[in-house]
Symmetry: C2
Subunit: 138 residues, 2 copies
Amino acid sequence: MIVSTKGRYALRVMVSLALARDGEYIPLKQIAEEEQISRKYLEAIMTTLSKAGFVDAVHGKGGGYRLNRPTRDYTVGSILKLTEGGLATVSCTTQGPSACARATCCRTLPMWERLDKMIDDFFEGITLEDLLNEGQNG
Amino acid sequence: MIVSTKGRYALRVMVSLALARDGEYIPLKQIAEEEQISRKYLEAIMTTLSKAGFVDAVHGKGGGYRLNRPTRDYTVGSILKLTEGGLATVSCTTQGPSACARATCCRTLPMWERLDKMIDDFFEGITLEDLLNEGQNG
DNA sequence: CCCCTTACCTACTTTGTCAATAGGTAAAAG
DNA sequence: CTTTTACCTATTGACAAAGTAGGTAAGGGG
């Protein structure tokens, strides 16, 4: 399972916000109900998106969340990397001190690296706008 | 993490067996030492490979495991699907009774399906023989 | 000033899977 | 009949994912 609920929920929420009227703030409670996501769990996700500057957040009545850029400017990759903390498919490709000891001679490592690259390209090549044009109804 | 140690170990073991002399049986103990994999843990993996007919297994002295087809006939995908129990990246794409209730209208589902297809094609397009030609030494 | 709504923060619990371990039984060779 | 090997069943420990609980702070409306 490469993508956990955190990243999947984040994507659905961003799509949800993209469907709102321009400039309108949507409260978390409403999103949670519409998307049938645990309210408390969603809080953590929204805070992450807010702190990273992906959405604007406003307190109090009439407040909530909204996008702050055109949908074309959000890639699926950027949202997933933020909420998932990266997209690596195997631990083998992590660099630095915790890198795999057999990296220099491993016959499978080049394959994992190509896979990571392919997946990164895939997600970076899809924007929120693209997602809006998918799905059958609603 | 799309691929756990089970699948990664399985791949390395298969590569290891591919390097053996034709027809020679390699005991599990030796593979575990060479690949620095827990012997007991590897037992479960080898039994899976054996029961699925991916390798021949012979008891007693001089026994062990060996491949039973040319390396060109093993795809990485087949090995991973067997040991990982599938390659789905998200739970969303599972069909049947446990399928996602929002499948018919979800704007992200088509993307997950394309991703799964892309990953499947990737792994099915690589064989053990391809892996033998990778890596820098030994 | 008070109340309500909202975002934001810290901590906890629950659940489940991965990775590994332990201790056996059964087959085959010498 | 002993050694070497594969095979089987159960259990443990570690860890993260998923969700829960109970607060504090900011902002608008009366």
